[in-house]
Amino acid sequence: MTMTKKLLTSAIASALLVGGAQAAISDNTVKIGYLADMSGTYRDLAGPNGEAALRMAIEDFGGKVNGAKIEVLTADDRNNPDASSSTVRRWLEDDKVDMVAGLVASSVTIAVTKLLEGTDSLGLVSGSAASSITNEHCTPNHIHYVYDTYPLANGTAKAVVQEGGKSWYILTADYAFGHALEGDVTRVVEENGGEVIDTSRHPFPTSDFSSDILQAQSSGADVVALAKAGADTTNAITTAGEFGLTQSGQTLAALLLFLTDVHALGVDTAQGIQLTTGWYWDLNEKTREWSDRFMEETGVRPTMVHAGIYSSAMQYLNAVKETGSDKAADVRKQMMDTPINDMFATNGTIREDGRMVHDMYLAEVKTPEESENEWDLYKILRTIPGDEAYRPLSESKCKLVSGSVR
């Protein structure tokens, strides 16, 4: 009798729980706001094709999760934190957006995640690089998914120092991302016995780097490192080639290069450049299969950001399905409890600071002889295990990490 009673009560309780949980999908709609650079310098690495990746994930769910409709709103961040903040404020107040995807320029992400903090909405950061996003700027309302400046430095900078590049000159884009990368690179260089002799910060964006390259040349440093992204990087690489930087014995290290950048430069110009990436379309059967599907949609091969947008959206929607809730706290917890095994990551895990930890890759741009087609661009030199790549929690300044070094 007691047994039956217990069973009965627990059955009722769980029925209530499920019922209650289902009601927890607000307005019976899962609203996703896609915020990314749609027209500026970071358009190609995220942009409209990132939206396509997001829609692929929604398509895989048949447009619905637990009977609730999935809707997408899109906005151009214009690489402008103020404009993006007002967009997201509107999304939160008027449109009741449950999740913000994309999130590219680090300055935009830091502004937006501040707004998300304390709400029921979750930010899934796929495009940004600054490692501070899950360090001093961490919030319980976002997850940083694809990569950050810490492994970029750990991968490329470490490899270059170990090959003998001891003295460094860093050309930095003068905003949150550039500063974060500069800081992480300086740490790695010094830890490995090298030295940063000077840095030069330029306004973002800049098209003419001749003066910066000239200063880097006259500094006599072994390595000239580019702590910047997008057109800033491709412009600097082109100018370095023109001014014969590498011919005069200096090494050029591009700390953040996307597939679209390398594609734009071409293997003739970019061959031999080493870079760290969170993902590459031609890693294995799973990545190739997904990339083929992406290419059918968009006509190009996906960057790591595109793949991350798809993968993180799938994880998010799965978590909504499991918990029956679209509340940030519930979904984030579920995502933290579920290891990520898909076309993007193997045994990826989300830590309490919001960092998704997964393997990174040290790659080298192929030579024209090695490259078989326009997207056959990287050879993978080394897999950097996630634990080694990302900032350990013991060094964390994040308020969500117990015993953080704040």
């Binding site: 500026g40 190609d44 330029h202 098209s207 000239l214 006259s218 491709t234 001014f243 110009t269």
Partner: protein, 295 residues
């Protein structure tokens, strides 16, 4: 190494030279703006887009038809110039005589449309354009390595700038142009086709921008947004030089390139703002610009 104000002279000379190279681009672009404003009183916000079109057309002509750099140097400005004439004929002409703000908004809208359409087609990562073989390599100067191409940019930009100044200020054609914009009815009475003259002047200003675009193609990332950043700087240059002053635009262009270059040595973060600081100071002290006629 000798130093001036704590800066090694080698670095200083290098930056001066680079400043003149960048200044050559500013000069070419602000010259076109000054011609269009000085003669037609049109504030051409599509100028950056025309610069971009010059570069894009160069790359596209090479990719599609294999047109080489030397042909492009002439052909791309012509193509873009014709496009400019079409804009003048079909759009700008209809708002002739209205307040400046109309032409400003119209050309700004045209620029955004061109930029948006090309961004949708080509993306923003940039298109490849190989440096012509003759320009590979450079001079090894005492204080820096000067790529042949940059030296070429200075020479050709100066020649084009001087030529334009000469034609407008010193020839009969230039006199017609200036007179036609001063009193178009009188000139019509003398049998001069003023509307044609206006179209051609706009087309020529646009050609100058496109020419700068061709010069930029081998050294800068060629993409649909490349003109939007430089446009504002170039406008500042024109304001500093004095709206409409041909010689003022050229000299100020070179000067601002040098000032920007020197700022990059002393305080690089400030390099994009320094031109605007100069603009503010000039406007306070001499509102009509350094070379403008006092109103």
């Amino acid at each position: 190494m000798t130093e001036i104000l704590g800066i090694p002279t080698a670095v200083l000379f290098g930056q001066l030279l680079l400043g003149i190279i960048n200044g050559s681009f500013y000069a070419l672009l602000s010259l076109g703006l000054a011609v269009i404003f000085g003669l037609l009183k049109i504030i051409n916000f599509a100028h950056g887009a025309m610069y971009m079109l010059g570069a894009m057309v160069t790359v596209i002509m090479f990719d599609v038809m294999g047109v080489n750099y030397w042909v492009a140097l002439l052909a791309a400005p012509l193509v873009v110039g014709c496009f400019g004439v079409a804009i003048e004929y079909f759009l700008l002409r209809r708002i002739g005589g209205q307040d400046h703000i109309y032409s400003l908004l119209l050309t700004f809208g045209v620029a955004l449309m061109i930029q948006g359409i090309l961004t949708n087609i080509y993306g923003v990562s940039g298109m490849r354009y190989a440096m012509p073989d003759v320009f590979k390599g450079g001079f090894r100067l005492d204080f820096m390595y000067l790529p042949y191409y940059r030296a070429w940019v200075i020479c050709v930009a100066l020649v084009v700038c001087f030529g334009t100044w000469f034609v407008i200020e010193k020839t009969k054609l230039g006199a017609y142009l200036r007179a036609g914009t001063e009193d178009s009815q009188l000139m019509q009475g003398f049998g001069i086709n003023v509307p044609l003259l206006v179209s051609l002047t706009y087309g020529f200003g646009v050609m100058l921008a496109a020419f700068a675009g061709v010069l930029a193609a081998p050294i800068y990332s060629v993409n649909p947004v490349m003109g939007s950043n430089i446009l504002i700087v170039v406008f500042a240059v024109v304001v500093i030089g004095g709206m409409g002053s041909i010689a003022g635009a050229i000299i100020t262009g070179l000067l601002m390139g040098v000032i920007e270059g020197l700022t990059k040595v002393v305080y690089p973060e400030f390099s994009s703002a320094v031109i605007f600081l100069v603009m503010v100071i000039v406007l306070l002290i001499r509102p009509s610009g350094l070379f403008g006629k006092e109103a």
